[in-house]
């Protein structure tokens, strides 16, 4: 009986999978890639946080958010605001008409730091804000909508509209947000220069460590009763409700969790890449993040990481050499993954590869909720 065999929240094949991924990210890639390429991987991995959130939110709970870029961006902007303030010390900005405020504010004739920037002088507050601001925002959206039983395509469209609104707002309010260019020219974290290759390598490993923490968290949630309730809700929402659960609360929770995960990714993005801009917030990046998750397999936690890496790797290599082909390829990917491979890489792995590698599938594949999405 499988349910007795599993005392800890990870099944044997999960452990194997995590270890393989860890070896890949911690040993193989750092040893084989030059630091320039490794920085790319680091950047891709920040999107994997978003994809991870989508596995829980979309794959397990059936809630498709087309606004995950909003949370990625909010997390990233929180981090960027802190770094920008550190880079805008009075000393560094003495040529400005108002020294001590970020340069773009000065260019826009703003003479005093806006109130919502002030908390970002403090590093602990920034760390809290990175997770809390997006989670709170997700809570408000989720609470308003799920309590009124809005779901499915309506939820998708409204989250997409929110992504559009936030982008327009950030671009429009140049003086407060840095506008279309975003917040750029970030230099140091607590005096530690984040622009050097050495710093970037360190940040890569920090990012990987955080990613694994989030992966474990995702596994825990998935294997808890809450994970099974999400699957049950996706299937027969009314039955769950009439078994005594307040369904909306569970949806709000998983949406907030996905938002918080995305935000961590966003903050790591800012640190590693050195800027944050509205181009990671809007409709297009948000829906692209969904495809990372879909390619990996919407029900597979580790698949989300592989899917993200693969799609981004393809994007980088194609758009370097054949930019026209990339858009066609991406479009085709959306269609193919929906029509032909609804379970993504993980599905291909499970049906074609894993059966040949008996030692990996120690337990029967009775993964709760890992019901294959039928191709038709």
């Amino acid at each position: 009986m499988t349910h007795i065999g599993r005392s800890f929240f990870l099944a044997r094949k999960d452990v194997v999978g995590i270890v393989v991924l860890a070896i890949l990210l911690v040993v193989v890639l750092p040893l084989t890639l030059d630091s320039f390429r490794l920085q790319f991987v680091g950047k891709y991995l920040t999107y994997a946080f978003v994809a991870l959130g989508l596995v829980l939110c979309w794959g397990y709970a059936g809630i498709l958010s087309l606004g995950q870029g909003v949370f990625f961006g909010l997390g990233g902007y929180c981090m960027a605001m802190y770094l920008k303030l550190e880079a805008s010390s009075v000393e560094n900005t003495k040529i400005q008409s108002t020294p001590g405020i970020p340069d773009f504010m000065d260019w826009n004739q703003i003479t005093e730091l806006p109130f919502f920037w002030k908390p970002f002088h403090s590093f602990p507050l920034t760390l809290v804000a990175i997770v809390a601001v997006p989670a709170l925002f997700a809570f408000i959206i989720g609470f308003a909508m799920f309590k009124r039983r809005v779901g499915g395509v309506y939820f998708a469209i409204i989250t997409q509209a929110i992504a559009a609104v936030l982008t327009i707002l950030i671009v429009g309010q140049q003086g407060y947000t840095g506008g279309i260019n975003g917040i750029t020219d970030l230099r140091t974290l607590h005096g530690w220069d984040i622009r050097t290759d050495a710093a970037k390598t360190v940040l890569y490993f920090v990012c990987v460590a955080l990613l694994f923490a989030c992966i474990l968290l995702a596994y825990y949630v998935k294997s808890s009763k809450l994970g099974r309730i999400l699957v049950a809700m996706r299937d027969k929402e009314d039955r769950v409700r009439f078994s005594g659960y307040d369904v909306a609360n569970f949806k709000v929770f998983v949406f907030c969790l996905a938002a918080a995960l995305s935000a961590i990714g966003g903050a790591m993005f800012t640190l590693q890449v050195g800027f944050m801009s509205p181009s990671f917030v809007g409709i297009v990046p948000s829906i692209e993040m969904v495809i990372y998750c879909a390619v990996g397999g919407r029900l597979s936690i580790l698949g989300a990481v592989y899917g993200t890496l693969l799609v981004n790797w393809a994007k980088t290599s194609f758009s370097e050499s054949f930019p026209e082909l990339w858009l066609l390829g991406l479009g085709g990917l959306f269609i193919a993954v929906v029509l032909a491979f609804p379970n993504g890489l993980a599905g291909i792995w499970q049906t074609y590869v894993a059966p040949r590698l008996g030692f990996l599938s120690g337990t029967k594949p009775t993964d709760p909720g890992a019901a294959p999405v039928a191709a038709e």
Partner: protein, 308 residues
């Protein structure tokens, strides 16, 4: 902010902005009509709707070029022919897409959304490769140029008036088709009870295909109308898709009156605010207003009570 203007000036501003709003209204309504049919009747989210529209715009552009070069004497009426061609082109593409893709996904609305997004990326790239990345504009026939002066301060463009007239005509045609024709009855029968409709001899697959094609065809006509007031580029369709979806959802998905009312409200709100605020803030406030109202009243403005 009002104190800077005199009363008559304010009056004229409202009239002119109202007129600008009416053009925006026509744009929204034309796009929303096709979507309302596809989403409202079939429950399918077509993210590539904007690209179907752009196809209509390109068809119009090429028709105008053709007339300019080969039939200059008939240039005055090219637009009407272009509109028909646009309808046929977008409609045919729509039916092909339904057959290849959409019909496999009726039970998975969220997946349709992703697949049609993919389609929109592909179409954009195809337009870019085939028609070039530049924006193109059509040449208006002589009778459509110029403007009417209602008073000293108020003038309205003829092409704008024409597009409005066209919008009204298309809306009436769609209403008649959906609520008066036997085909419209079939569509509504299929929507309400697919199995039953099938049982009484309606070819539901054919109805689906034609409905989708019709929605796309109307998008093509909308694109055609757009060329009268703006230029066309490969990515122009994407600019409007979110607004249009909000229009449809805000209007209550299944009602034509709702779509019209919501297109009107949103466009008027946006264009009036645009005069006093920057364009981007007007848009932010309008969209935000719509989103908040939708959060409070998710069923939209007009809704039919249905069994859950």
């Amino acid at each position: 902010m009002f104190s800077d203007y005199s009363l008559t000036e304010l009056g004229s501003i409202f009239v002119m902005q109202g007129f600008a709003g009416l053009i925006l209204f026509s744009v929204f309504l034309l796009m929303a009509l096709g979507l309302a049919i596809i989403f409202g009747q079939m429950g399918v989210i077509n993210m590539a709707h904007g690209e179907f529209m752009i196809l209509g715009a390109y068809v119009t552009y090429f028709t105008s070029q053709f007339f300019l070069n080969y039939l200059p004497s008939l240039f005055g009426i090219y637009f009407f022919i272009a509109m028909i061609l646009a309808f046929i082109a977008s409609g045919a593409l729509g039916m092909a897409v339904e057959w290849l893709m959409i019909r496999h996904l009726y039970k998975r609305p969220l997946d349709t959304l992703l697949a049609t997004w993919g389609l929109s990326l592909i179409l954009q790239q195809v337009y870019r490769s085939v028609f070039g990345p530049r924006e193109v504009g059509v040449e208006l026939p002589g009778w459509m140029m110029g403007s009417l002066n209602l008073t000293d301060a108020i003038e309205v463009q003829i092409n704008g008036l024409f597009v409005m007239g066209l919008t009204i005509a298309i809306t009436i045609a769609v209403a008649l088709l959906m609520y008066r024709s036997s085909w419209g009855k079939q569509v509504r029968a299929v929507v309400q009870n697919r199995t039953m409709a099938g049982a009484v001899g309606i070819n539901t697959e054919r109805v689906d295909r034609l409905t989708f094609g019709l929605g796309c065809g109307i998008a093509g006509v909308a694109g055609s109308a757009f060329t009268m007031i703006g230029s066309t580029g490969p990515t122009a369709g994407q600019l409007y898709i979110v607004d249009t979806f909000l229009v449809v959802v805000f209007g209550g998905a299944q009602s034509l009156i709702g779509t019209i009312a919501s297109a009107f409200t949103i466009s008027q709100a946006q264009s009036t605010m645009e005069f006093f605020l920057s364009g981007s803030m007007a848009k932010v406030l309008t969209l935000l207003g719509v989103i908040i109202i939708l959060m409070l009243r998710p069923q939209g403005l007009f809704v039919i009570k249905v069994r859950r």
